[in-house]
């Protein structure tokens, strides 16, 4: 199993969630975060300039399609960081 973590600006949040739904993934965890990166300190100022972090647990076979689509549709225009980690999952049947 893989953990896909996407940290992006809040205005890209809906795009990511729609994309996950498109690949029939309905479960994710989302939280508002702040931090600093290529675009300077983020998470201050206007509500819609915040960052969010989206965590998705998924099976390896779905991963490459999703990553490809995220890279194609979001990387060029949005503030976004994506990484993948190996994880062990308890209650595997929740992710089938």
């Amino acid at each position: 199993m893989k953990l896909l973590t996407i940290t992006c600006e809040i205005l890209a949040q809906q795009n990511v969630i729609d994309l996950l739904h498109k690949h029939s993934i309905s479960g994710y965890t989302l939280y508002e975060v702040s931090g600093s990166g290529a675009k300077g300190i983020r998470g201050q100022g206007f509500q819609n300039e915040k960052n969010v972090k989206i965590e998705v647990v998924l099976q390896e076979e779905k991963l490459s399609d999703i990553l490809e689509e995220i890279a194609r549709t979001l990387f060029s225009d949005y503030a976004i960081i994506t990484y993948v980690s190996d994880i062990g999952v308890i209650r595997m049947e929740k992710f089938s």
Partner: protein, 361 residues
């Protein structure tokens, strides 16, 4: 009153002073900050107060008188968005996405600027037509729709050209088709989102409620929605000042052309608005608010809409110029200037009329 005197008196009002104070606090790197819930709550409160006020006033004036100013406002908003684009693209050499995003930011109305305008007139003891609030609500999505529609047209034209170039290889045309349909669906999504967005919903809702309850129904809530109005603007402007202050460094990155654009366009558009509304027969205060609709740039609604609709455009450009340059310029200088112009135009008109009447005798 002389223009300089009025500008000076206007700068020494709490609304402007607290905005400047916010900028200073940000510049000296103070940790002063509004609690998040309050900075989210205040725009909703301000829109509700503006809406109620508009609804109450509309009950007195009726709907019929607003139709012509409304249609002209929609037409002007579209025209202005188009000519902003031409200026930015041809003279400013911005790319197509930044040009459309900036064009619609300046074609759109600024609700915060509108609130400050109302409080400015209140300070001067001048009334304005309530239906201008309804025009504000109608104009909210217009400039965005124009810009998004035209951007989509431009993008599909580009994909068509790419398609012809890649016509030999079948795979790539399929890919381009997907991109094309994705662009198309976005327009409807954005349309729906901007019309059901919280700004328009709360504004239209409170206009209707204000219209329904009339002055008697308004009496028990007057203390919150009228007496506290300017105080709430002051608190909100501390926050706006802080955000603007953090962005001052970005202004230099925008370049001289953008600074000039952010000062000249509101002035021209504002004067056009004052002239046309004077001609349409709006009051002195009404003409100022009508001009303000076109002078103001959107910096709260615009990023939320444009980031989805034209993600290729750089938000730092349009937010910084609207909030960092145009907004301070309008609330400090352009508002008093528009008031003086409006008074002058009205006097000319009444002078001409009296001259005309005397001739008739």
């Amino acid at each position: 009153m002389d223009i300089l005197e009025l500008v000076q008196a206007n700068i020494l009002t709490p609304v402007v002073l607290f905005f400047i104070f916010g900028i200073v606090a940000a510049r000296i790197k103070s940790d002063l900050k509004m609690p998040e819930a309050i900075s989210e709550f205040l725009p909703i409160y301000l829109l509700a107060a503006i809406g109620l006020h508009g609804g109450l006033e509309m009950r007195k004036t009726g709907f019929e008188s607003m139709l012509i100013p409304l249609f002209i406002a929609v037409g002007l908003s579209i025209l202005m968005t188009l000519y902003h684009y031409q200026i930015l693209r041809r003279l400013g050499k911005f790319n197509i996405f930044d040009s459309y995003a900036l064009a619609s930011t300046y074609g759109a109305v600024g609700a915060v600027t509108f609130s400050v305008g109302l409080s400015f007139l209140k300070n001067q003891g001048i009334a304005s037509e309530g239906y201008i609030t309804a025009i504000l609500a109608t104009l909210e999505p217009v400039a965005f729709i124009v810009a998004i529609f035209l951007t989509n047209m431009a993008v599909s034209k580009q994909t068509q050209i790419k398609k012809q170039t890649f016509a030999k290889s079948k795979d790539s045309t399929d890919d381009l088709d997907i991109i094309h349909t994705e662009q198309k669906t976005k327009l409807f999504q954005v349309l729906r989102e901007s019309i059901t967005g919280k700004a328009i919903v709360i504004l239209l809702g409170s206009i209707l409620i204000g219209y329904a309850i009339d002055t008697d129904g308004f009496a028990p809530i007057k203390i919150v929605f009228e007496d506290l109005f300017i105080g709430a603007i002051v608190i909100f402007l501390i926050e706006m000042g802080i955000i603007a202050g953090h962005r001052l460094d970005d202004i230099k990155k925008g370049g001289v052309f953008l600074i000039g654009f952010a000062l000249a366009i509101p002035t021209i558009n504002g004067i056009i608005g004052v002239l046309i509304s004077t001609y349409l027969g709006l009051s002195i205060g009404g003409a100022v608010m009508y001009g303000l609709l076109f002078a103001s740039a959107s910096f709260i609604a615009a990023p939320a809409v444009l980031r989805h609709a034209i993600p290729q455009a750089k938000p730092s450009l349009y937010i910084t110029s609207a909030l960092g340059i145009t907004f301070p310029y309008i609330i400090m200088i352009l508002l008093p200037v528009m008031l003086i112009l409006s008074t002058t135009f009205h006097n000319i008109e009444s002078m001409n009329l009296s001259y005309f009447v005397e001739n008739l005798k």
